[in-house]
């Protein structure tokens, strides 16, 4: 047993975190018996595992994630969708219209290049390409609203514990908000003011994601915003 850092210390790729028998967690790798960090982040030593909570990381897709993407290309029987991963995701016709592909289907009539969709990652294929599905409630083509982006590593803070943060923002602003795990957020409000409020709250979460007591501060921030609006 030999820990080199304190819990929650900032580490940089290449820093040796541990020497000896232990499991390697997220963002670490083993080389010649030493376990090192592979991303900047905060170390986390638990009893049987070393991991690093990454401060900078792209979106790494997992099956079951809700994502928002743009249709990038149409191929025979499938759409290619850009969801900010290293390779475009695939949406097959049966996962889009609940019917097998037939040659008389006009694919651009269902989804055209440039369309935005809310989709679920149903599976990963053998080459680790995400396979999407848009069958289900709340999924499918997006017709109204607008999209803002957040670093994917900050999405868990925006959702909060069991959705506490996002539910609070939903209730207080009255906007429809769909959060994609890939960092794209779809906002659709009834009025311009509601939408502006939602955006400014999300930006606050982005700025202060790493400081504790975030939910309470956001609650107060929402109150202040509402009062300002009343006074106008």
């Amino acid at each position: 047993m030999s820990t080199r850092f304190e819990n929650r210390d900032l580490v940089i790729p290449g820093d040796v975190l541990f020497e000896g028998r232990i499991r390697t967690g997220d963002n670490t790798y083993r080389h010649e018996g030493k376990i090192s960090a592979s991303r900047v982040g905060l170390v986390n030593y638990s009893r049987e595992m070393v991991s690093v909570i990454a401060l900078e990381a792209g979106f790494s897709p997992l099956s079951g994630d809700l994502v928002i993407g743009d249709v990038a290309d149409i191929e025979l029987g499938r759409w290619l969708v850009d969801i900010d991963t290293s390779t475009n995701a695939i949406l097959n016709v049966p996962d889009a219209i609940d019917a097998p592909f037939r040659s008389d289907i006009v694919m651009p009539d269902i989804l055209d290049v440039g369309d935005t969709i809310v989709a679920k990652i149903v599976d990963m294929d053998r080459r680790k390409t995400p396979i999407l599905g848009i069958l289900g409630r709340g999924l499918g083509k997006v017709n109204e609203g607008f999209i803002i982006r957040l670093t994917p590593s900050k999405i868990p803070r925006l959702i909060g514990k069991r959705g506490s943060m996002v539910n609070m923002i939903l209730n207080q602003t009255g906007c429809e908000i769909v959060i994609g795990q890939n960092g794209r957020i779809l906002i659709n409000g009834r009025t311009r003011e509601q939408e502006e409020m939602a955006v400014s709250v999300i930006r606050k979460v982005e700025r202060e994601a790493h400081i504790s007591g975030l939910t309470n501060r956001v609650q107060e921030y929402l109150k202040i915003l509402k009062e300002e609006k009343k006074n106008e």
């Binding site: 929650r8 210390d9 900032l10 940089i12 790729p13 290449g14 820093d15 040796v16 963002n27 790798y29 080389h31 090192s36 592979s38 991303r39 900047v40 905060l42 990454a54 401060l55 900078e56 990381a57 792209g58 850009d82 290293s86 390779t87 475009n88 080459r127 680790k128 590593s153 790493h210 400081i211 504790s212 975030l214």
Partner: protein, 243 residues
Amino acid sequence: MSKRKKKKKTTKRYDGRKPDELRPIKIESGVLPNADGSAYIEMGRNKIVVGVFGPREMHPRRLSKPNRATLRCRYHMAPFSVDPRRSPAPSRRDNEISMVMRYALEPAVFLERYPRAAIDVYAEILEADGGTRTACVNAASVALVDAGIPMRGLVSSCAVGKIDGNIILDLGDYEDKEGQADLPVAYMPKMEKVTLLQMDGILTVQEFEECLNLAIDGCNQIYEIQREALKKKYGLEEQESDE
């Protein structure tokens, strides 16, 4: 004999540096909001911005590799970076240095985690003062970390050379042009591996070994500066984060 020489060269170096002294280095990470990762470096009078994009879909797709990501580097000197003006078109030298940067950085990146993808590194030289390739590698490895790309460690790089029979660290433009030998080295301090070794000029075997050891010392010093640069961005987060 070598000791006497060292004393002599202390006075001889054109910018008043000691023979084993680096130029002042300043590195900043995360300077470009539109890039996935970025870094700015000042190494002496060199000024370089590096932007990193990816891992992203590779175009043209037929050049992508089925088992790993492709690292693409672009070294480019701005027309105003040197006097007289330089043509902005990529030259033979630019292409070579792009390749050299790629070779220096590739061993540090977990390319096999992103099959078929591309990682693009764009280095733009705003002002050049000798040793731009080493400065580019230094900035690029900071930018890659800033982009959240999984890495085995940082790559640090500096050059060593010989001028008037004296071995000196981190050549400036004048020393580069007037010197008898030039040896740029890229080194991964944590893994103790040399990822790039180039040489032009003439050195004896002993001189070469002396040069290499001096370069590795220099790389270790640069590594500390790179570390600080990365930590500076999160200084706040390090103190206040507890969730």
